[in-house]
């Protein structure tokens, strides 16, 4: 059994079910991300791991210990909060050592710990300041310092970066990852930002409405999302969802893409067993923007590439890429093209798609057909 094990954990207030049975297991040293929109229950789950909220039913184990009835201070955890929650009346030094003091660590040892943590986070020069004299990034570091000082089994992060500006957020993200790699600590990290989830985690639980929609590695979540929700939530710009009818020709799965005047059959590869029942029925084709591009950017060695023509409606340069929007089967479809590909609104452009990486979803159950 691993560092954290959550078994069929539920939370309800009367008839409102906040969490509907969560199962998650991670090993020591893993970085678990709980990601989802606000109100999905991710923060509630984190608070329950911390012992700040009661569990309606189920079990939480931290380091092989059932902690359901332990108060936060006995769970061997530390937590970093969105608002940092630094004690405003205490200096940085006192903030970091408060928990040590309560645990009756000898003063000399407290001092040594504070020094070490401060060095590591490069906040030694701030130790005698009060939190209101610090910038947002510095406060963030102090909050992490407070957590690190205790050296717990489990670190909990509750949207720690969302109060920082965009540039600082990216910097701190890198630092958190670096810290995790260096120290090998076990982390549970809550965020609503799918980019943070992808970059930081080595396990991601995508949550919605009190349920885990998919639990896996970032690559699994990205490449083989379990359902339309996960597919749409992860990835920016979001995956294109194109309604189509599944057809079969010579053992190949085919869907037709109609740009309004022409129709192109897209070959998705050999028809799988799971796909067979859907032949002749409506499906949703999920294809990421980077799987539709201009001819110059397409890698020629991909065997499955197919050409389609699209009526360009709008182009949005992002710098490294230009996002090109056109319509297929009556919905907007985004393609990621090279900025020098010369796409312009109004023209008909030739695009290359890689349908072998496209996914099919059941429009009724919204689950991936696989």
């Amino acid at each position: 059994m691993g560092a954290l094990s959550i078994r069929n954990v539920k939370k309800s207030y009367g008839n409102t079910h906040i969490l509907k049975g969560i199962d998650i297991d991670i090993d020591k040293g893993q970085f678990l991300i709980l990601v989802g929109p606000s109100g999905c229950g991710k923060s509630t789950l984190l608070n329950m791991i911390a012992g700040l909220e009661d569990i309606s039913s189920g079990e939480i184990h931290i380091g092989n210990r059932l902690v359901n009835h332990l108060p936060p201070k006995d769970r061997d955890i530390a937590m970093v909060f969105q608002s940092y929650a630094l004690y405003p009346n205490m200096t940085v030094r006192q903030n970091i050592s408060f928990g040590l003091e309560i645990r009756k660590i000898p003063v000399a040892e407290q001092k040594a710990i504070v020094e070490r943590v401060a060095n590591m986070l490069q906040i030694s020069h701030l130790l005698d300041r009060k939190p209101n004299q610090l910038s947002g990034g510095q406060r963030q570091r102090v909050a992490m310092g407070r957590a690190l000082a205790r050296n717990p089994t489990l670190f909990l992060f509750d949207e720690p970066l969302s109060n920082l500006d965009a540039k600082l957020r990216v910097e701190m993200r890198t630092e958190i990852k670096l810290l995790h790699q260096r120290m090998g600590t076990t982390i549970v990290y809550v965020t609503h930002d799918q980019i943070e989830a992808m970059t930081l985690g080595d396990r991601i639980a995508v949550m919605k409405d009190g349920e885990v929609k998919q639990f896996g590695t970032p690559q699994q979540i990205y490449d083989t999302p379990a359902n339309l929700y996960v597919a749409g939530f992860i990835g920016s710009p979001a995956m294109n969802f194109i309604p189509a009818t599944l057809e079969e020709a010579e053992g190949q799965a085919i869907v037709r893409l109609d740009n309004g005047t022409e129709t192109f059959p897209a070959k998705l590869g050999p028809l799988g067993t799971a796909q067979r029942p859907y032949v002749g029925k409506s499906v949703i084709l999920g294809i990421r923007p980077e799987q539709i591009t201009d001819q110059g950017s397409a890698q020629a060695d991909q065997p499955n590439l197919q050409l389609i023509r699209a009526k360009v409606e709008i182009t949005e340069p992002t710098g490294p890429d230009t996002l090109v929007t056109s319509q297929f089967n009556g919905v907007k479809v985004t393609a990621r093209c090279h900025p020098q590909a010369g796409m312009a609104p109004g023209q008909t452009a030739t695009l290359v798609i890689d349908p072998s990486k496209a996914l099919l979803f059941d429009p009724a159950s919204e689950n991936r057909i696989a």
Partner: protein, 292 residues
């Protein structure tokens, strides 16, 4: 509010002048009684009778002040207001301290350790702010009798503490709800419990609220007359009751200079509080206004 652009047209200038004139006139209206009190208190009774209200004293003298302090008649007693002044102090200090401390703990619980029924409790307490005290003084007098509490000062400390709690609790509760819950969560994870979080974190960060609360309670309790006149008698009466007795003692000549000196002495403590803690005083008034 907005920077409204003033174009320096003649009409606008006249308008500005008018505004200043109105504001200055009102300043005179507010200052006049204080001025009259001070100059009257420095005059001899002779001069009060012959001179006019606004004239400066010809030979300023503190005699009326010393009479007021130590030998003026408040009813049958003629030993000045000094004893009553100290009565008020003796009542004020414990009542302010108790109601502030209890209010702080209550506010802390009602904002950060909510339990089933705690919101209802707060609502009930707030509705209590609206009660005219006339509706509770008869039973209170009965109850103080049952309790056998004879000492007027002790009675007033108890009554002022109880009826101050609604406001003091509100001040602290409304301050603590602006503190993120996460602060308490962080402290709990650090291992601190209910009392330690209160004394080590919440109380130290509430200094401005403590100032608001102490100033509010000080002015309320010092200036109270109703409780004083109802729950204390004779030598234990507070300052306001003594001042009223002094002014309304209708035997003999009216010593207006002494009355004014006594009134200023009665006003001085709260005026000082206002002068030094005006910011917190206003904050308390407006905070009280928002809720009740």
């Amino acid at each position: 509010m907005a920077d409204l652009a003033y174009h320096q047209t003649p009409a606008a200038r006249i308008g500005r002048f008018g505004i200043y004139a109105v504001l200055a006139l009102f300043a005179l209206y507010y200052l006049a009684p204080l001025y009259v009190m001070v100059v009257t208190s420095l005059k001899s009774l002779e001069e009060v009778r012959n001179g006019n209200l606004l004239a400066l004293p010809a030979a300023p003298s503190l005699e009326a002040w010393s009479t007021a302090w130590s030998s003026a008649c408040t009813g049958v007693e003629c030993s000045g207001i000094q004893g009553y002044f100290w009565n008020s102090i003796k009542m004020l200090v414990p009542a302010v301290a108790l109601s502030t401390l209890i209010g702080a703990v209550n506010g802390y619980v009602l904002a950060m350790w909510r339990f089933k029924g705690s919101d209802l409790f707060f609502t009930l307490l707030m509705i209590g702010c609206f009660l005219p005290f006339q509706v509770v003084i008869l039973p209170m007098a009965q109850m103080l009798g049952f309790l056998g509490l004879e000492n007027g000062t002790a009675r007033l400390v108890l009554v002022h503490t109880i009826y101050g709690l609604a406001f003091t609790t509100m001040f602290f509760r409304n301050f603590y709800v602006t503190i993120p819950d996460e602060l308490v969560k962080a402290a709990r994870i650090d291992g601190a419990g209910f009392l330690r979080i209160f004394f080590r974190i919440m109380l130290p960060i509430s200094l401005p609220t403590i100032a608001v609360c102490v100033i509010w309670q000080t002015t309320q309790i010092w200036n109270d007359f109703l409780f004083g006149v109802v729950f204390s008698a004779g030598e234990t009466q507070p300052m306001t009751v003594a001042l009223n007795n002094l002014v309304n003692t209708s035997t003999g000549v009216k010593h207006y200079n002494v009355e004014m000196a006594a009134a200023i002495i009665a006003a001085l403590p709260t005026l000082c509080v206002y002068a030094f803690g005006g910011k917190y005083f206003i904050r308390g008034l407006t905070a009280g206004a928002v809720k009740g």
